[in-house]
Symmetry: C2
Subunit: 308 residues, 2 copies
């Protein structure tokens, strides 16, 4: 996959459960942006969003495409009658919402691309960040939930639906009796390690949790266990971890990543022989180069790919 | 990916830890084949194998390519000085063996393709079996070890090294204290569910284990747990299970697959919404259409792809 359509003027929507970040521009260095609370009335929100793009188009010129990186689950099957819908979300007001159609209706003459927020962020890192030149990598976000996207063989991961890596089951740390917070699976990865899970386990948010609290030890152990599983299943050339929790709160991002790297090596136990998993692991498990902008830049990248 | 080079006359090597199955032909219906014990002297074996292909070429005509589906780990990085080597295997005599070079030396003028045995078997199912038309699927083998290959976006899974799905860690069934047989990870998937693991747990091989033995319950539970993880990470459109254990011994293949399908649904707990995982799960988790020939036919497919 080439980095197609670079420098095209496009629109971008990072559609999250809390807010929609919208931007217009040609690259991460050239973004006009705004944001809207997601709320529980999609129609009202879609009007505000599309009005903003119409206004930006008047100011900056014709958009060549719009990209949407959306919370999910999203129907990405182009042959499906509900293509571009957010489907079975428990989020109030949002079940079976045609997000792609709402944008396409106002911009019928340009491509409107949609993918998961994490595939969008992965594509952003592929265009401008820590995945440039890599055809096999994973982008994980750990925040309100846990999700992941990425590429295999230079193509974004899709398949039957799209990956739902946050819901893999992990072996329990002996003695850990925390039930987990996932309404579907209890103690799946998301149930054990999302921001709300960390809060439920420790009584404190990641930002306030002291560096020496044992919850960090467990948090990084389960994340390492999940990454080891992903390495065994997908054999990525790099693992990028974004989202709020990876900032490590009082622990700090550097120590947070270092703990994960060490634990991944312990879990894999030298079975997979590659410098990337040994002396070069510091460059193997990394934060996004685009930082908190990975999502919105990813939606720009989705649009530019569609415009090309 | 198209099914390239179909009907080309090619050679195939299914390189296993116990035997090398070799074949010459144009399709699964047209194979001349033989086999050799793997042994602990690769050079002797390679001479016998290549002599057989030279003889077959004299009888059937010029081969257009040779494909190798090999036990691993195999170095598949074409830029590596050890490309085409079996690398860190514990198998006596086989560590750092240039299997690709041994064939290429005798057949320097035709393409010699190499991939993992499971990616080969996956490609065989893609050409002629249960993965025709699918661009995202997984092929698992459960026998002496557990391995898996497959496609994402129409390309065979490669990445940093190649998938090592047999070594993912799984949550323990409460009360199960079996240590597992993997020398690296103890109770990883392979450590809990390979043929030798089933033997160590029950004292009986899969062929002799009575249908009502609780080891089948555990075996299918862990396999289901692993498949649920693979579904969350890769979102395949189908999961094919080959190898000897999936025949289910006294339990029978039908019951074995049925138990796995039911348990996969319980593990996923209706989180991923797709007919494939609900009413159509009977067609989602299936044995290979090529049966025990998936491996050798896969090596034929690898060769035909390279010949195209």
């Amino acid at each position: 996959m080439e980095r197609k359509g670079m420098n095209a003027l496009v629109g971008a929507i990072e559609a999250g459960g809390t807010k929609f970040v919208c931007a217009v521009g040609t690259s991460p260095q050239d973004l006009t942006r705004t944001q809207f609370a997601t709320g529980d009335n999609p129609d009202t929100l879609f009007s505000a969003v599309t009005n903003w793009f119409v206004e930006q188009q008047r100011l900056r010129g014709m958009l060549q495409a719009i990209g949407i990186g959306s919370f999910g689950p999203v129907d990405l099957d182009k042959g499906s009658p509900t293509y571009g819908y957010i489907t079975s979300t428990p989020k109030a007001g949002w079940s079976n919402t045609n997000i792609h159609g709402a944008v396409k209706r106002v911009f019928p003459h340009i491509p409107v691309a949609i993918d998961t927020d994490v595939n969008g962020a992965a594509l952003g890192e592929y265009y401008w960040g820590n995945a440039v030149g890599l055809h096999d990598f994973v982008y994980i976000t750990i925040g309100t939930g846990i999700g992941a996207g990425g590429m295999a063989g230079g193509q974004l991961l899709h398949g039957l639906v799209h990956p739902e890596m946050g819901h893999i089951l992990l072996p329990r740390i002996p003695g850990d009796t925390f039930a987990g917070v996932c309404p579907f699976h209890g103690g799946c990865w998301e149930g054990l390690c999302s921001g709300p899970a960390l809060l439920a386990r420790s009584g404190m948010s990641a930002e306030l949790l002291p560096a020496e609290h044992e919850a960090w030890e467990m948090e990084t152990q389960y994340i390492a266990s999940a990454i080891a599983t992903i390495v065994c299943v997908l054999s990525p050339r790099r693992v990028i971890i974004g989202g709020s929790v990876r900032k490590g709160g009082q622990l700090g991002s550097d120590r947070f990543f270092q703990m994960i790297r060490e634990k991944v090596q312990l879990v894999l136990h030298e079975y997979i022989v590659s410098p990337a998993l040994h002396e070069e692991i510091g460059g193997y498990i990394v934060p996004p180069l685009l930082g908190d902008d990975a999502g919105v830049c990813g939606a720009i990248a989705l649009a530019q790919q569609a415009a090309a």
